[in-house]
């Protein structure tokens, strides 16, 4: 009987430990994944960054995909229902963020990132037009969402000021466009 009591106590202790019965909160990997994942139009999106999203130039990018969280969520909400479109706009959002954070030191560095951004615009624009989406509207809205504070506008402005006036033929290209 005594043996049985001890065994029963051990089982209870084990169960308590297994269920997180200590002072630490329960850490079931399965339940953590379930609560973290949010989908918009079937696309997994990062959590809403909230009011602090504009506190720094870089902003919040919890999934480290190169796109700020609020922009990830906007893309999924607006374009997630069109297959391929959200990915294309994401490509543009990513290059916009990259340009903003590039802090080039030389004219050549500034031109390199400027060209990459310009060429991504041409590539994604053609894709959107093929999808019958007004590319100009998407560009304008994404631009205003990406550069939505004075610090971000200034970061972008610094790149183009260093690059200087750009005169370029439409046939020049620096990227491999996945939609061609």
């Amino acid at each position: 009987m005594k043996k049985l009591t001890i065994t029963a106590m051990l089982i209870v202790v084990n169960l308590l430990v297994a269920c997180g019965g200590s002072s630490a909160p329960p850490q079931s990997p399965a339940s953590a994944t379930v609560t973290a994942v949010e989908k918009i139009n079937g696309i997994v999106v990062p959590p809403d960054p909230g009011a602090t999203k504009d506190d720094t130039v870089a902003g919040i990018d919890t999934d480290n995909n190169g796109i700020r969280d609020e922009i990830d969520r906007w893309i999924a909400t607006q374009y997630g229902s069109t297959p391929g479109t959200a990915e294309a706009i994401g490509m543009l959002a990513k290059v916009g963020q990259k340009l903003m954070l590039s802090s080039p030191k030389t004219k050549t560095e500034a031109l390199n990132i400027a060209y990459e951004s310009i060429d991504t615009g041409g590539c994604v624009g053609d894709k959107l037009m093929k999808d019958n989406i007004n590319a100009g509207s998407v560009f304008n809205e994404l631009m205003l969402r990406t550069y939505n504070t004075k610090a971000r506008i200034n970061a972008r402005k610094a790149v183009f000021e260093l690059a200087g006036m750009i005169i370029r033929n439409v046939n020049d290209n620096t990227i491999i466009c996945p939609y061609e």
Binding site: I118, T120, N148, M165, I167, V170
Partner: protein
């Protein structure tokens, strides 16, 4: 048979055939020399295009549209774009939004987004009065004088047009949109002063949605439905300035092609649209009307081969070309002069 053999093998006949062949080849070569092998179109964006993405896309669309609709653009059609980071448009709108935000104790970024979207023709949640104020602000921006920094850029760009096109005997047509017209007209003034008349004749301008009163080539396109230019005209009237060029194309529906492009001012949305039905003119779309103007500019311009009289020495300095210096075969050609005075 005897006659045939005689005909085919006769020395005289063979000599005649060779002469005809050479003559034909000469004609082909001459005709190639007479006509431009390349037409350069320079697109200069307006201040209301804050995005380098859009400038690139607009240039792509301009190239495709010219390729499709132009009748007089022969040979290779080059489209070159100038991307000049809009000097202050975004900042200007931002500052305006910031000012309003302080007045209303609202979040600056929210108002900035809302004002920015309205300025670009989006349906916005801000009031009608504020939307009107934003449009008037845009009109002010596109009307204001070019900043001093731009003067340097005008010289740089003029030099590029001259070196890449005009002095190589290639016709060049500037296609500026919105505030880009101020820039383009200054480029024309610069080249007119600096270049010999024969070379300058190779330059034309088609002013698109111009807030200015000046069309150097006498070729412009302004839509009746362009609200931004309408506002610019009202502003000019109020401030005693000369009004912008009058509209010359009626495109009913220009403001309705896309519910999010309602200013009727967009380069591709309105001016390069092939969907807009025509109103009072014969061309069947705004795009066809615009490309028709580019065609006319190319008809009016003319070029001649005018190789530079200098070369670069080993140290990269410009030195006079020595006698007997070989002609650059890549650009050797002659284009007959057009009407006196050219397009300008």
């Amino acid at each position: 048979m005897l006659i045939n053999n005689y005909t085919l093998h006769s020395y005289a006949v063979r000599k005649y055939l060779v002469a005809v062949f050479i003559g034909l080849m000469s004609q082909v070569a001459l005709s190639q020399n007479k006509c431009p092998i390349r037409s350069d179109i320079y697109y200069i964006n307006g201040v209301n295009k804050p995005s380098e993405w859009e400038v690139r896309l607009q240039s792509n669309i301009l190239k495709v549209t010219v390729d499709k609709l132009a009748k007089n653009v022969s040979g290779i059609r080059n489209v070159t774009y100038l991307y000049n980071e809009s000097d202050g448009f975004l900042l200007d709108i931002y500052e305006y939004a910031a000012q309003k935000a302080v007045e209303r104790n609202a979040a600056v970024t929210d108002l900035f987004l809302s004002f920015g979207l309205t300025a670009l023709g989006y349906v916005s949640t801000i009031t009608d009065a504020d939307q009107l104020a934003v449009r008037q602000r845009v009109a002010e921006v596109i009307n204001r004088d070019l900043p001093p920094k731009t003067q340097q850029q005008i010289s740089e760009f003029s030099e590029r047009v001259n070196q890449s096109s005009l002095s190589a005997g290639v016709q060049a047509v500037l296609v500026p949109h919105s505030q880009g017209n101020l820039f383009a007209n200054s480029v024309v003034d610069t080249l007119k002063l600096s270049e010999p008349a024969e070379r300058f004749r190779g330059l034309g301008v088609v002013n698109v949605a111009s807030p200015t009163y000046n069309a150097p080539s006498g070729l412009h396109v302004t839509l009746r439905q362009d609200f931004v230019i309408q506002d610019a005209a009202l502003l000019a009237l109020a401030t005693g300035k000369l009004p912008p060029l009058a509209y010359n194309f009626d495109a009913p529906g220009a403001n309705e092609v896309d519910p999010k492009s309602m200013t009727g001012h967009g380069f591709t949305e309105a001016y390069l649209s092939e969907k807009i039905p025509t109103g009072t003119v014969s061309a069947n779309s705004a795009a066809a009307f615009l490309v028709g103007k580019i065609d006319t500019a190319l008809k009016k311009t003319s070029t001649f081969y005018d190789p530079p009289s200098w070369i670069f020495d080993a140290q990269g300095n410009k030195v006079p070309k020595p006698p007997g210096y070989p002609v650059d075969s890549t650009v050797t050609r002659v284009c007959f002069p057009g009407p006196v005075g050219g397009a300008i």
